[in-house]
């Protein structure tokens, strides 16, 4: 069971306290109507599947309840870092 550092609680906690929430840094468009069907399809469905560093979102569901971002290596399953929502991509 992985340990995950919650950047809000500033605590290393077991994985069962957290919920995965998909790829990070995909902001919802401010004006979706200006998006073509293809652009909207990309926003909705198309996600990266890297071998290695992956930017992803987690929620400290059974803790502070906050969503945050993380960089995890998809090969080793090791977390490189976690950081608060709204902070620039690491």
């Amino acid at each position: 069971m992985i340990l995950i550092h919650c950047p809000y609680c500033d605590e290393q906690r077991p994985e069962i306290e957290f919920a995965y929430a998909g790829q990070a840094h995909i902001a919802r468009p401010v004006d979706p109507d200006t998006y073509s069907d293809e652009e909207w399809e990309r926003f909705l469905f198309i996600r990266a599947n890297p071998r290695g560093r992956h930017h992803e979102r987690w929620r400290h569901s059974h803790g502070c309840g906050r969503f945050f971002n993380a960089v995890r290596d998809t090969v080793t399953d090791k977390f490189e870092t976690t950081y608060k929502a709204g902070e620039p991509r690491k």
Binding site: M1, L3, W40, F45, R66, F67, T76, G86
Partner: protein
Amino acid sequence: MSGYRLPAGGRIDRSKPVAFQFDGKRYQGFAGDTLASALLANGVSLFGRSFKYHRPRGLLAAGSEEPNALVSVHRGPGRFTPNLRATNVEIHDGLNASSQNRWPSLKTDFGAINDRLGMFFPAGFYNKTFMWPRSFWDRLYEPAIRKMAGLGDAPTEVDPDNYAATYAHCDLLIVGAGPAGLDAALEASGTGKRLILIDEQDEAGGGALADPALWPWLERSMKALSSAANVTILTRTTAFGYYHDNFVGAVQRLTDHLPANSEAPREKLWRIRAGEVLLAQGAIERPLVFDGNDTPGVMLSSAAKIFANRYGVAVGKSLALMAVHDSGWHDVFALKKAGVGIAAIIDARDVVDESLLAEAAALGVAVHLNHSVIGVKGRHQVASIEICANGNDVRRSIPCDALLMAGGWTPSVHLWSHSKGSLKWRDDLGAYVPDQPNENCRSIGACSGDWDFGTGAVYDVLPTPKDQARIKAFVDFQNDVTAKDINLAVREGFRSIEHIKRYTTNGMATDQGKTSNLNGLQIASTALAKAVPDIGLTTFRPPYTPQTFGALAGHAKGALFQATRTTNIDGWAEENGAIFELVAQWRRARYFPKFGEDMHAAVNRECVAVRNSVGIFDASTLGKIEVVGPDAAEFLNRMYTNPWKALEPGRCRYGLLLKEDGFITDDGVSARLAPDRFHLTTTTGGAARVLNMMEDYLQTEWPDLNVWLTSTTEQYAVIALQGPNARKLLEPLVEGIDLSAEAFPHMAIREGLICGIPTRLFRVSFTGELGFEINVPTAYGRALWERLMAEGADYGITPYGTETMHVLRAEKGFIIVGQDTDGTVTPYDAGLDWAVGKKKPDFVGRRSLARPDIIAVGRRQLVGLLTEDPKMVLEEGAQIVADPNQPVPMTMIGHVTSSYWSETLGRSIAMALVANGHAMLGETIYVPMPDGTHKAAISSMVFYDPQGARLHV
């Protein structure tokens, strides 16, 4: 092999005799014996029958690597454990064990015919032979094979034992309490670190337990560690898996070694998080591969030493040793000194250390260098061995009753590999050893390749002048894999060791190849003419040894398997005979049968009562979210399809929630209590999901909005009072709320008191009748319910359950998200266009409603169905076709989502998703079901009171 108890020695307590049974026969051992050592001491040599050929097998080892001596232990009804290693089973008074995979008895096993037919059972035999016809596989081949080839029987009764579980945290976890582990523990115990020391055996010591010279040191060490407050010692505990971030799973066996069954937990699962892990698991001796190496009495050299020195048992009266490693010589010297007869030492090497030869000479032990064992005589036990000079067909026979094998050592890198630490090959050891760690972990002692019992040579198969195709030289004893099988796999084109493993099943038995993996690798390496590191190593996965399901399940069984959520009113429902169903994790009353009623009779009665007078329903499980803040209306406006900003305080609105892909994910009626406060309701199953989704948008997309979301599902008990008499019943009980139609219209909320209890009173209806949903603080739920039941007696108030609720809502065409929708249904598909705010610039899912696939023709749309035969109730989930006479497979145009008998309408009603359904009103479709094809007409979904006259009264 004719083992016997040595007159002295061992760690057994000779003053405490222990009586036990094996295969129905009574034996006696001593406290401290394992089943293996006690049976050996009684002269037993035959312990089991092999998996495939049913060959007679004896003990190979003395520890958890034992592949042959698998036994079943019976501890009374339901307490049956198959496939235990006799070497790990501690005897106690009354122990009842039996051998496996034999019929009718261990000595006379009819399945042994397989051994005579061995030439017909090569690697991949089952895959090659039982291919045709397909139908024979399920009916004939598989049952027959399973009956013949097998391990112990699976238990058939519910396990009555209890199992405990705990979490533990430490700075240092040491796995293995042999000399290396104990040394490390002694060193660390002085530092004040929180330390856990684990060992799978009944006492700490590991290899030192078989070395009497180390016993004084062992006693001192254990005394020091036991008295250290920072040290936890767990014996009879197997660290079976090493997971991410130094998380180690271990099972502690608590009561199996005790004479009587108790209510105390049988085993305990430890989930240990360690700062650092030290692996000191030791090494496992390798068998040698030669013809007849599975005859009972052929065993690991180290095992014979353990049986003599630890248990005071000689494995035979005259022992021969086949060695390629110095350690075997030392074992034999120790055995000789303990009084065990030694027939000869045979070593395949032509040169060994002078000191070994000198000691052998001093002890009067005959030595044959540059020789190999090429055959074993004896079926149920060794009678003699045939040896031959290497490269020179000069054979001779040596009488003996046991043959020891010293094939070198395999470091136990299992846990290291679980942790994804890398391995490196060492030619000199013929083994993989730990290289780079992947966790904060070190490997010490023999499991790192570090030992002091000499050196050896590495052989794949011992040299023999015999025809390789005619010998039975076993590599994997438990799965009956021979050197020939591995060579065959290579000849048939298998190149990767992972494929060779699966084709031959080498290393795939319950022992997971502890004694066979390296020999299999060496043989494959020779056959492929490639160095071992170039053909790889199969992956070690947890568990290290098999563990019980009971230990892994722990408390999570029966009623504790999953939490059951109950409402404050649940107890009343139970006392009043409710039949329950689970909805998400909630236990909900499905219907309340009166004497003799089946579900349909009860539901019909409940439905009629609601339509004609008044029914009462526990709606407490509805998800509830309090949305508070100056931007609350703006937030809901962005989340839901409907407009929220203009909703006046005191009014309610049906809210429809989409995911960003445009599909319905939840719905519910919500009320505005104040300009900055909303009381949201969600579906029972959707509460947590909806709150998570709203938090997601609030925290990450619109953090500028000043809104707070709080789950209030469990803060309110909710009682729905539905029916034409609902108002009359409520009126005298309510204070501060004008219930008149003018003052309190449909879809409104008022706050006040009911029976003196503060309430949020909704005037809403999921039945189509005049109705109220009374929210009171949870603790008052049952009291209010009972009061309403008493006050409502005059109106024949009728409690109803979820089944009646479903019928009533279906009569009105109200959807259930998740039943009538399935994650592919848009508001338009569901006929809920009216709930979509056309003028709103944006809401979650809005853009997707314009996607090409969503606006395309031919989507499945929600409609009503009226069967031609009004008595026919369609099956939910049944498929719908346009033409019942088309050839199979038919083109399916939709399916039935909801279907009920409506007592009110005197006929069946159904809802269905049908392609282009909205344009097919009145058209006929067909529903093929097992009892025939049924004709139905597409209709409106609102079957009852389409004008809503009954609501607005």
